[in-house]
């Protein structure tokens, strides 16, 4: 009888044993695959944490004659590792005119001084998104009418409630912004919204007139670019904040950025802001280590258990081995038969395990994890006296966590599983094979 046939016949005859082995191998393979898929999912989760800690760097090109040109900005955004989230900012001053070119009135009450030439001028703040400007995020500014400025172009402005009242302006009206030094250089803009301050300005008595809250005007970047650099059709900016995916790479990214052509980087100031990440770094690494250790422990012990189990199984077949050898079947082919049996069952187990572990991973992925994209934060609801922190859901562009069995992991489990099955069977069979058939059979109980 040929050994393949023998192996098959044995497996079929001893259905119970074969099934136990199959179950065992299946459980082990599924465990390993699930562990590996969970591990790669935790890696994504950790990358998300890193990204959500919002490491960024700021380019201050205020001293450059032309700021940061538009195409340099797009080149910077192409640098590998940037998350795509960025804020461009420009600050300047402008004289305010109405649509007919008549000067508009500013507030001078509470000003430390009204600098010469700024009698009808105020501070111009341009931001990629006016809602993200520090006046709105930290300074307590709030929109009362109209909509914030979220585009780079469009010649729009936001004006203070009091400024609007004083000059009879309302949303939709047109006014002119003029260069403070060169009064002929003006640009018409539309009032897109009206804001107010919810907190008193604490620098009253110290701030010059143009810095008073009432006199500040928010505009889009291209308007500011016209006022600052006289550009038309293209937008240059003074400052850029660029967020990165992995704050660990900030240094490298900043070096890459400074190698780009077209800007005199020597005159710019680049500042890194990754304090939140630096604070969390040690704990985050600890967390990653724990995941790693968990996977390592599982893998090592799984292999150990598998080897022991196969040994246990083979030891129950000493009697059978003796009989085979006594029948004159060579040791090699007996061993091969055992190996074949295990490999046959292992192959079936591994094939099925792909299905089971995919099902389990899918279950974990769909039912347990927060789906990042549809995440809504519950606002902290604090009782009466305290203010509710209104935290609009911010889309941080985090990657969706996917718990799935990857091809590499599957191949890995196949390779290791097979090697282990063969090795442990061979090892367990070694002491039995060393003996003569007579001594094996006489040793039996």
């Amino acid at each position: 009888m040929n050994l393949c046939k023998r192996a098959c016949l044995y497996s079929i005859r001893k259905k119970g044993k074969t099934l136990t082995l199959l179950a065992f191998l299946l459980v082990m393979a599924t465990l390993m695959l699930t562990c590996l898929s969970i591990q790669s999912a935790t890696e994504t989760a950790n990358a998300n944490i890193k990204k959500a800690l919002l490491g960024y760097f700021t380019i201050n090109a205020k001293t450059l004659e032309n700021g940061i040109p538009e195409d340099t900005v797009s080149q910077i955004l192409d640098v590998d590792g940037l998350s795509g989230r960025y804020t461009l900012r420009s600050y300047t001053y402008a004289t305010y005119f109405d649509a007919d070119g008549d000067l508009l009135e500013i507030n001078t009450e509470g000003a430390a001084q009204v600098p010469e030439g700024y009698e009808n001028a105020g501070k111009i703040v341009a931001n990629s998104n006016s809602q993200n400007d520090s006046y709105f995020t930290d300074g307590g500014f709030e929109m009362v009418e109209g909509s914030p400025i979220t585009t780079e172009t469009g010649n729009q402005v936001l004006i203070h409630e009091k400024f609007a009242q004083r000059n009879g302006l309302s949303v939709g009206d047109t006014m002119l912004l003029g260069n403070v030094e060169d009064k002929d250089k003006t640009i018409p803009v539309t009032v897109a919204g009206i804001f107010t301050n919810t907190e008193e300005q604490d620098s009253i008595g110290m701030a010059p007139s143009y810095d008073l809250y009432d006199n500040i005007v928010f505009t889009d970047l291209s308007t500011a670019s016209f006022l600052l650099y006289g550009t038309e059709g293209t937008t240059n900016v003074q400052y850029g904040d660029f967020y990165v995916n992995d704050p660990d790479e900030l240094e490298r990214i900043m070096t890459d950025v400074q190698e780009l052509d077209g800007v005199d980087w020597e005159s710019c100031t680049l500042t890194r802001y990754d304090n939140d990440y630096q604070n969390a770094k040690a704990s985050l690494e600890g967390l990653q280590n724990i995941v790693f250790i968990a996977i390592a422990v599982v893998s090592v012990i799984c292999f150990l258990v598998l080897a022991l189990f196969l040994t246990l199984r083979l030891r129950g077949r000493i009697h059978e081995t003796g009989v085979y050898l006594a029948m004159g079947i060579s040791k090699g082919s007996v061993l091969l038969q055992y190996l074949l049996e295990v490999i046959l069952v292992a192959a079936i187990a591994l094939v099925i395990s792909f299905g089971t572990s995919t099902a389990i991973s899918h279950q974990i992925g769909s039912s347990l994890l927060s789906q990042v994209t549809s995440e809504t934060y519950e606002t902290v609801d604090l009782t009466g006296e305290s203010e509710t922190a209104e935290e609009p859901t911010e889309d941080l562009g985090l990657a969706e966590i996917e718990v799935a069995v990857s091809a590499e992991d599957y191949a890995l489990v196949w390779a290791f599983g097979m090697v282990l099955c063969v090795a442990s069977t061979a090892l367990a069979a070694y002491p039995i094979m060393k003996m003569k058939p007579k001594s094996i059979l006489s040793q039996m109980s």
Binding site: I38, Q278, I295, L312
Partner: protein, 420 residues
């Protein structure tokens, strides 16, 4: 022969088999114990991570409920007692409050310190390490120590200021706020020097009065010194209007705030609380995902371990069919046979479980150091052990019972006849 003796004799006679089952039990128990320890460690680590997000709440006087005299609010200021009372609430890691003064500062020879524009911008502080400027990383202490609430007459200054004036830690400075209002001179010892990391030329922060001062002119002094500087300033009352409290665990922020609000000696009509946990909110979903994944991993491990134990035991019992037949044939009662098997298994378990306790710590530690990762947090607690011992014991007994049912249903003759 007594069944206890029989169990021991069997285990000793078949020592190789016993050893194998022992090793299997040991390995699986180690796996489960390490799993439980890892789950705990993950929880701890996640808590630590949440602690680093700087989640805080601000207590400030509520201008809207206070009076207004035309120029400024007459709402009551925060008292030192109140600030300390809140700081004593459980779960608060640190706190700070600021009392701003704009003093002139002189060295020990009576010369005014060289500085940039205006005067100095002085934050009276309880714990300067919790000051926003340090927390946000804009300033970094490079020498000496931070101001803490047990310090008196201390000040920390910027490196530039120290360099321009040849000052070092340990020197004494004298500050005076409004000499024309007869505020006293206050002597302060330099306890620390900080570096300015942030780019002051960036106009992003130009919305408050502090922004008109150069960073190099910022100084932080202990609260008693700041209070000393404004002593005698008069009834217009300059006081502390805001205090910041940082919590150890961002997830507990809401509970801590609730507890603070239940302090009855504070008139909460005059104060309001604002929560700030933006960083935590940003990472919370990703962080809880990591937690869920690790917990799931541990659950999978535990479930699989249970299945494995049952499989191994049933295999071992089933291979003893012949023995069972003989034992029954010689007139030993069925319960006695089962009990013998249970006893054998438990004998192994009694040795394997405590050993697993030792090995699990070893395994996590060794694997950790092997790959250069720290595993200090992975600790097997007695609770873990008791849990595993009880559940494991029950599981073993159940597994033996279930696997012997099929054999024990039959008569000895049938069993022996069935054998090959």
């Amino acid at each position: 022969m007594n069944l206890g003796i029989r169990a021991i004799l069997y285990s000793a006679r078949k020592w190789k088999k016993t050893l194998l089952v022992f090793c299997l039990l040991l390995a699986i128990t180690t796996l489960v114990l390490s799993g439980l320890a890892i789950a705990d460690a993950q929880e701890e680590q996640a808590e630590e991570l949440r602690g680093t997000t700087g989640a805080s709440f601000t207590v400030e006087r509520d201008i809207s409920t206070g009076g207004w005299n035309g120029n400024y609010s007459t709402q009551e200021f925060m008292s030192e007692d109140m600030i300390q009372q809140i700081a004593a609430v459980d779960g608060i890691a640190g706190y700070d409050a600021t009392l701003i003064t704009l003093p002139r500062i002189f060295n020990d020879k009576g010369e005014e310190l060289a500085h940039e524009n205006y005067s100095f911008y002085n934050y009276g502080s309880y714990n300067s390490q919790y000051h926003e400027l340090f927390l946000s990383g804009r300033f970094e202490l490079v020498e000496g120590t931070h101001i803490t609430d047990d310090m008196t007459n201390s000040i920390i200054i910027s490196r530039e200021l120290a360099e321009w004036n040849g000052l070092k830690v340990g020197d004494t400075l004298t500050g005076v706020y409004y000499p024309q209002n007869n505020t006293p001179e206050v002597d302060m010892k330099i306890v620390g020097i900080f570096d300015v990391v942030a780019d002051k030329n960036d106009q992003v922060n130009m919305y408050d009065d502090a922004s008109y001062y150069a960073y190099s002119s910022y100084v932080f002094c202990s609260m008693d010194a700041a209070e000393g500087l404004i002593k005698g300033w008069g009834e217009d009352g300059e006081g502390i209007s805001e205090a910041y409290y940082y919590v150890t665990d961002a997830a507990q922020l809401e509970n801590v705030i609730r507890e603070v609000q239940s302090i009855s000696s504070i008139n909460w009509n005059n104060y309001k609380i604002t929560a700030n946990d933006e960083v935590y909110q940003n990472i919370s979903s990703a962080l809880s995902d990591t937690g869920t994944l690790i917990t799931t991993l541990i659950i999978v491990i535990t479930a699989v371990s249970m299945v494995l134990i049952i499989l191994i035991l049933s295999m071992s019992i089933r291979s003893r069919k012949r023995e069972t037949g003989i034992l029954l044939a010689v007139g030993i009662a069925k319960p006695a046979v089962i009990l013998q098997y249970v006893l054998e298994t438990l004998l192994i378990a009694v040795v394997a479980f405590p050993l697993a306790c030792l090995s699990s710590k070893q395994v996590a530690g060794t694997l950790g150091t092997l790959f250069g990762k720290a595993a200090e947090n992975v600790i097997v607690t007695p609770q873990h052990f008791i849990l595993v011992a009880i559940v494991g014991g029950i599981l073993l007994v159940a597994a033996v019972l279930v696997s012997s049912i099929s054999t024990l249903r039959l008569k000895p003759k049938q069993i022996l006849a069935q054998m090959e």
